[in-house]
Symmetry: C2
Subunit: 250 residues, 2 copies
Amino acid sequence: MSGPRFEPVRTVRAYERIVEQVEEAIESGALCPGERLPSERDLMGQFSVSRSTVREALRVLQARGLVRSRPGDPHGAEVQPFSPAALHKSMTTLARVDELSLGELVQFRMVLDASANLLAARLRTDEQLAEMDAAIAGMRAAAEVGYDAFSAADIAFHDAVARASRNKLIQICTDVVRSIVLGLVSGKIAAAADREALMRQSIGHHEEVLAAVRAGDGLLAARLSRQTMYDYYVGYVPVDERPALRALLE
Amino acid sequence: MSGPRFEPVRTVRAYERIVEQVEEAIESGALCPGERLPSERDLMGQFSVSRSTVREALRVLQARGLVRSRPGDPHGAEVQPFSPAALHKSMTTLARVDELSLGELVQFRMVLDASANLLAARLRTDEQLAEMDAAIAGMRAAAEVGYDAFSAADIAFHDAVARASRNKLIQICTDVVRSIVLGLVSGKIAAAADREALMRQSIGHHEEVLAAVRAGDGLLAARLSRQTMYDYYVGYVPVDERPALRALLE
DNA sequence: GCTAGTGCACTGGTCGGACCAGTAGGCTAC
DNA sequence: GTAGCCTACTGGTCCGACCAGTGCACTAGC
């Protein structure tokens, strides 16, 4: 009964075809980071379209973080090395549209950080362990300076752990979600009256986590890191969201 | 010694200012999904720029998934509800550029799915439990039909678990990473000679996981789900990446 | 000889105008 | 009252133009 299966003809914009072709070239490795695209005027010849169309395609590619163009650059747009900037942008948008609550974000960080610690405890090298040591030393020193410095050292520690997990997706998501969370609460933390006590407590917690990582006890490291994160942020999470956070603690 | 601190003047393109303004309007809620932007010709008046500039801004907004324009639509571009499409796109790019290996992706799925199961075991409602039951029944029925149907039912189960976790970030990331993984391996699974045995085994594993969720045993559900995912995909992961996956298993 | 300075050719960013195919909704003819 | 046409408008694409900025070759000076 069914005749030849006709598929709906999807009209494809000219600039989309260009985006697809360039994207394909980059993803297939035909174009490597650092290499240059031809100039817009060359591209309009190669694709047989007008410059407006070429430019719209380049805008899309730039929005996706694949290329970057600079006015006056005689070499054309530059193919960018991958950066999680686009990922970061869309996740930030997601959070800002208020689709995501602070509780969900912190909960996600607890999940990611715990997993990173679990993996780090089992996969870390001695150099990575040294990095974590250095980061905690930095936290201790920075606590005397102020919250901003402390926060930076704190980030360095978590980054070292994430790197030790050897999972780039964990690293990227950790980075993205953390910066969103900090954007939401860093002002409140900096203004907190008892932030010195908070920082001192946090250093102690981090030392315990590191000890577990050093000992190779992944489960302990994961549990401690969850608890550390919980204690640090629970005060800023609305009361009705806290039970969901506690559901992650044993 | 240091005079007044001058910051470098960052030249901002006209179209970027437009993107920022519209983005702000959407993220602040001044523009809601479903609402329409003025026509391009109106916008060029409001922003005092040419239509090319307006269009470049719209291309960027469209690439970020915030608006969508249709040729001939007399009402102007439509503000889109948030969709993880942009997130998906950038993560897919990341995977295609080979920044992400299959091992890392599967490992990330293990982390997400285990967390979703842990939370689901502790937060699920009876309706959600019924959804999971239905999904497993669907898997059993679909296994007779073929791999595609089975895969769809499998997805339905994991989605139900993710929803029960009550964390939208987990749901979204689960969805995105899963579709990338499936894009990489679904062909191989469909072609596997022993896929019937694989499906039957997988159903059994899922039933065990669901039993743990039903019993409220979050730790068990998490461990079983990690193991299930590992067993299902380990055959497609390069041998040298497998130890990292096993590091997630107790 | 080499360096410092200049000029040029070309770039991307923006503008304005033009045409086309498509759509929605009002209007007309039945 | 309804079916079908008409029109005003849309977004997609093209063209040509101008500007400010950049890199490089060339030149003038040491």
